[in-house]
């Protein structure tokens, strides 16, 4: 699967004369910003580390322009048994990347004969997002649990940087909750506190961002496995002072 992806992209690059490259650049710009028909997961995604695992969360809206193509999207994609990724940006790009990384990681895990590290998965994402940064629009948060370092959150924003953070937010709705996350995050929260924190932050973002909405999907990844939850729209905490 990954060979197909890379071969197609390689062909794109090799065939570029300067005029085609300009056209590709324009097309890329059009696709990124102004083409309203590309399905985009302009979204809000979040991941928080706690002692013993991670909590990840996302909204559930995928838009093509003003139309909500899918109001119950699952943006929390399993990459391996205890490694998930949260996807934001172009839906097609992120699906293709996560399929490719799932394949690569599965192969790597079989070769090693043990569960892969979260850092390995994050590096695979970063490798792909950085190498094909001109063609892709993908912001990904990789989170999971492994035996060596416990719960970890790595963020690979658009452009292909990789960094580990105790708490990370991404997607278009994330701008609105930086202040809330900065002020409310504390180190060493419990699992329930993290779930509450994530659900509240996502609700606040969904209330302000037109591209985020629907339900809040949460998942807890720990040594014991993956526990998924859904908070429906009418059960979300509401903060309406005005």
């Amino acid at each position: 699967m990954c060979c197909l992806v890379t071969a197609r992209v390689r062909r794109l690059r090799c065939s570029c004369s300067s005029s085609i490259r300009d056209a590709a650049h324009v097309a890329h710009g059009v696709r990124n910003g102004n083409d309203s028909l590309t399905p985009l997961a302009q979204t809000t995604i979040m991941a928080v580390e706690f002692d013993g695992g991670v909590v990840i969360g996302a909204d559930s809206r995928t838009t093509t322009g003003a139309y909500i193509a899918n109001r119950v999207t699952d943006k929390l994609t399993p990459i391996h048994e205890r490694i998930f990724c949260c996807r934001s940006g172009s839906a097609a790009d992120t699906q293709a990347i996560s399929d490719a990384v799932t394949y690569q990681l599965g192969f790597h895990s079989i070769e090693l004969d043990e569960p892969p590290l979260v850092q390995t998965a994050a590096n695979l994402f970063r490798e792909m997002c950085y190498r094909y940064r001109e063609e892709l629009m993908a912001g990904i948060i990789v989170a999971g649990w492994d035996k060596r370092r416990g719960g970890q959150v790595y963020t690979v924003p658009v452009g292909g940087m990789l960094t580990r953070q105790p708490v990370s937010v991404g997607g278009s709705g994330s701008s609105y909750i930086y202040g809330y996350v900065d002020s409310n995050y504390r180190a060493h929260m419990s699992k329930e506190e993290c779930l509450q924190f994530t659900a509240q932050a996502l609700s606040l973002a969904m209330e302000r961002d037109g591209s985020s909405g629907g339900v809040v999907r949460l998942a807890v990844i720990s040594e014991h496995g993956v526990e998924r939850r859904v908070v429906a729209g009418n059960q979300l905490p509401s903060f309406s002072a005005i």
Binding site: G179, Y185, L204, R208
Partner: protein, 238 residues
């Protein structure tokens, strides 16, 4: 023809293009709004309002042209406004509004209503909306309705709200203010709320910074509070 139009025509004849912008910012319409380089807010509390802003003026997001500019302009004794967008436009409009408001106040022989001040700004912003790039938050106290907060957006919309935030840095604190605002706070709670919100926005927005200017307006008068950068509240990653 109202006073504003007459005044404008007179200036045009004299050669002052007061309401033409000096420079046009290239705007990326995908960004949230055209407001650049600031964080401003105003909050109503029990007995008064607090209006606040950061103190940074920047050119193109890469050069800080002033670290201590005061964006809180007193347009009457108990009415302040804070500016977002092009500083040149904002200064021109507030100068005009100050003149009109003082004239109005003399005619009525009483302090102007906060709504009147906001309306004057709105009128100026709306009539010249093609040329201007400035948004305002007006807050103050008057005898008729007590403490009030009005926002005049860049195109000239006027809205009354219990609290409001604006400027480029406001994007990052929408979640925080939505979660933390309560109606009928005390003066101390409100001061803490405003200071925290400004500190959080300054922490995330690179074109907001410097000190936090806060003005507390109540029936008893006006009090200016300045919180220097190192005394702003710090959060978990600082």
């Amino acid at each position: 023809m109202n006073e504003a139009t007459q005044y404008n025509l007179k200036l045009e004849r004299l050669g002052y293009h007061q309401f033409r912008t000096m420079e046009r910012h290239p705007t990326n319409y995908l960004c949230k709004g055209v407001s650049t380089g600031t964080t401003i807010l105003a909050v109503k509390f029990n007995g008064g309002v607090i209006i606040g802003s950061d103190s940074r003026a920047s050119v193109g997001g890469s050069y800080v042209s002033s670290k201590v500019i005061n964006k809180l302009i007193q347009i009457h004794d108990k009415i302040f406004c804070c500016i977002a967008g092009s500083l040149a436009d904002a200064q021109a409009v507030t100068k005009m509004a100050k003149f009109q408001l003082s004239f109005h106040s003399i005619q009525m022989d009483s302090p102007p209503l906060v709504k009147a001040a906001a309306s004057v700004l709105k009128e100026l912003c709306y009539s010249n909306r093609e040329d201007l790039e400035a948004g305002f938050i007006t807050a103050g106290w008057d005898k008729k309705r007590g403490p009030q907060v009005y926002t005049v957006s860049m195109g000239g919309m006027l809205l009354s709200q219990p609290f409001t935030i604006g400027g480029s840095g406001s994007t990052y604190i929408y979640g925080y203010v939505d979660a933390k605002y309560k109606p009928d706070m005390s003066r101390e709670e409100c001061l803490q709320f405003a200071t925290n919100a400004l500190a959080l926005a300054i922490g995330r927005d690179n074109v907001s910074g410097g000190v936090a200017h806060l003005v507390v307006i109540t029936e008893g008068g006006v009090e200016h509070v300045v919180v220097p950068g190192e005394k702003l509240p710090k959060f978990h990653d600082e």
